[in-house]
């Protein structure tokens, strides 16, 4: 067989993207759209990143609705398809629904992996596989990545590495526990007592997986399960059977709020010492297995040694609104790690950046930001003929605003009576930057959970916030909204 020439040999590039999971693929696609010369490196031998292996119980928690009230491949359809990457070409759009066998309302891991592979192929993305990033250094204004294939020099690097490296909390004795990633074979928990440390996605997922087998399951962590938060969590659609069992008083399944003080071996078994956080007292459990579902971290390699600042006990890089490290200039993150830019967090609301659904939009915003920064000038802006209907349409149906509520906004600038579409940007960037008169449309959620369309108006450098009336069907294109916005735009 003739040797196939691999793309992107070591050398100088404007941007280097590391990773070929959904974050890396979407970033590379968007950088190409904006004409940014870049290389894509991946230590894997094929695309899809974490979806080659995770979720271990083979079913996603993010949905795709193959038959929706809008046309598959339309912009509005993105709301119904949380798993496909974004593209302009029809052949690369909305690929996951076409690959689902419809056995379940959520795609399987394999269907998701196939969707990502199809995207890479149909969007004709080039990736240098089998190239491992080993270390990093700053050199002048640039960054040098040392890899298994040689040195790459770039002006900016985008790490799209996922948040997939098993992480264990600092609990004495937790070294006796298996991590979530090692629990694949459910039947080995048959007739065993199991303590699961952690009550987030992976804790519930593993508990759901072993529920039919285990003799008893205790899920324990300090943070109470917040039912109101759960109602908005992707978890609710699939992994709540253990919680349901506990809530209904089913013996043998418990979901408790405790700190785990230590874990000690007792013969063949393990003893777990806990203390209540939402109740007074202590409990001890003697179990056959402890599973650490304490989460994952971004594989940051040598970046912390170079001063990369992190959040969440070292697991996630701390990022600026445009997903650049707060401490290492030129070092950006895409994909799941883009959750390191929390946004303004109005009323405690968070971004949806830890799922494909949310970070695919972050990638597009990042690509434009990088293009503008590297080129030293703004990308072209289309005129907006009629600003009020434009903003109301965005508020009603822009998937970026609906998925990334209170995090991404649509901006229209206004100078000398001309309105220009300034695109989608992080809301905090709009609020904190000076600039010409402009409007920003944002979909937000109030204290009661009601969805509130919100318009920010910047006039002579001052920003005013206007909450529009909620609508039971979330349709804001009718006459009363039109009148309200016309007043705001004209005043």
């Amino acid at each position: 067989m003739a040797a196939v020439e691999r793309p992107f040999p070591p050398g100088d590039y404007d941007v280097v993207v590391v990773g070929s999971g959904p974050g890396g693929l979407q970033t590379s696609y968007c950088l190409r759209q904006f004409g940014v010369r870049h290389a894509v490196l991946s230590r894997d031998d094929r695309p899809a990143g974490m979806f080659q292996r995770f979720p271990i119980f083979q079913r996603l928690i993010t949905w795709t609705k193959p038959d929706a009230p809008v046309e598959r491949g339309s912009r509005e359809y993105e709301w119904y398809d949380h798993n496909s990457l974004l593209a302009e070409e029809p052949e690369a759009k909305a690929l996951v629904p076409g690959l689902m066998d419809r056995a379940f309302d959520l795609p399987s891991r394999a269907e998701m992996e196939a969707g990502l592979a199809a995207f890479a192929e149909r969007a004709r993305l080039e990736i240098r596989f089998g190239c491992t990033w080993e270390s990093t250094r700053h050199e002048g204004e640039g960054i040098v990545l040392e890899t298994s294939d040689g040195e790459y020099r770039c002006r900016a690097v985008v790490f799209a590495l996922g948040v997939t490296e098993p992480w264990k909390a600092d609990v004495p004795g937790l070294e006796h526990a298996a991590h979530y990633v090692d629990t694949r074979k459910c039947d080995r928990y048959a007739d065993r007592d199991v303590f699961v440390v952690g009550k987030r996605n992976s804790g519930f997922e593993v508990a759901q997986g072993i529920l039919p087998w285990a003799r008893s399951i205790v899920l324990g962590s300090p943070r109470p399960v917040q039912m109101d938060a759960l109602a908005l969590s992707a978890l609710r659609v699939r992994y709540l059977h253990p919680y349901d069992e506990y809530a209904r008083g089913g013996p043998g399944t418990y979901v408790i709020d405790v700190t785990i003080e230590r874990i000690e071996p007792v013969g063949e078994r393990l003893r777990v010492y806990t203390r209540g956080t939402t109740w007074d007292g202590a409990l001890e459990f003697e179990v056959d297995d402890v599973i650490a579902a304490t989460g994952f971290q971004t594989p940051l390699q040598d970046l912390p040694q170079h001063g990369l600042v992190t959040v969440a006990e070292g697991r996630i890089p701390a990022l600026t609104p445009f997903w650049e490290s707060v401490s290492l200039p030129g070092v950006f993150f895409a994909g799941n790690a883009s959750q390191g830019a929390r946004g303004i967090g109005k009323r405690g609301g968070g971004a949806s950046s830890s799922s494909v659904n949310g970070f695919r939009y972050n990638a597009r915003v990042l690509a434009r930001h990088l293009a503008e920064r590297l080129n030293g000038h703004e990308a072209g802006r289309e005129p907006v003929a009629d600003v009020v209907p434009f903003l109301l349409r965005e508020l009603t149906s822009a998937p970026e605003l609906w998925v990334q509520k209170g995090y991404l906004c649509r901006v229209v600038s206004a100078s000398d009576g001309v309105h220009l579409d300034a695109g989608v940007v992080p809301l905090s960037t709009f609020l904190d930057s000076r600039g010409p008169d402009a409007y920003a449309a944002s979909v937000e959620v109030d204290e009661t959970g009601t969805i509130v369309p919100t318009l920010y108006v910047r006039r002579r450098g001052e920003i005013a916030e206007h909450q529009l009336d909620p609508h039971p069907l979330h349709q804001y294109e009718s006459a009363p909204y039109q009148r309200h916005l016309e007043v705001l735009v004209q005043s």
Partner: protein, 136 residues
């Protein structure tokens, strides 16, 4: 150092046992701001309550720094408790690490932990006295 251990060193949380500190640290997220980033925005609704874990911030009115905030200080409590938008900006002076507690959860946090509420009341009283002393 874990977030819970850091909280244990701050005056506001000094009366709480480790299990309570763990519960707070696991329930709320931390956020890091680069120097110059705005954390609290004057006039905008929905701000949170912030406790400084590391770094310095400034209370600014019309871009002018009025007061410095350090590790262990907190801010955003007035708008969180009254529901009114903040009357000043808070801007990171250095890199700033904060624990972020949504306004909607601050009330429960305080009601569930009276010693924390008392600590905060004392610190508020101290701030009020300092503010009054500034008057000419």
């Amino acid at each position: 150092m874990s977030i819970a251990e850091t909280l244990g060193q701050l005056a506001l949380f000094a009366d709480l046992p480790p299990s309570q500190l763990e519960a707070i640290a696991h329930t709320h997220e931390e956020d890091v701001f680069a120097a110059g980033e705005r954390v609290l925005r004057r006039g905008l609704s929905g701000g949170n309550f912030y406790v400084i874990l590391e770094g310095e911030a400034a209370v600014e009115i019309d871009g002018e720094a009025r007061h410095k905030l350090m590790r262990g200080d907190y801010f955003g409590e007035i708008s969180a408790l009254t529901g009114d938008p903040p009357t000043a900006d808070v801007v990171a002076v250095t890199m700033l690490r904060c624990l972020v507690i949504p306004a909607t959860q601050l009330e429960k946090l305080l009601l569930d932990r009276p010693t924390l509420m008392l600590r905060m009341l004392r610190m508020e009283a101290h701030r009020l006295r300092t503010t009054l002393e500034w008057q000419p």
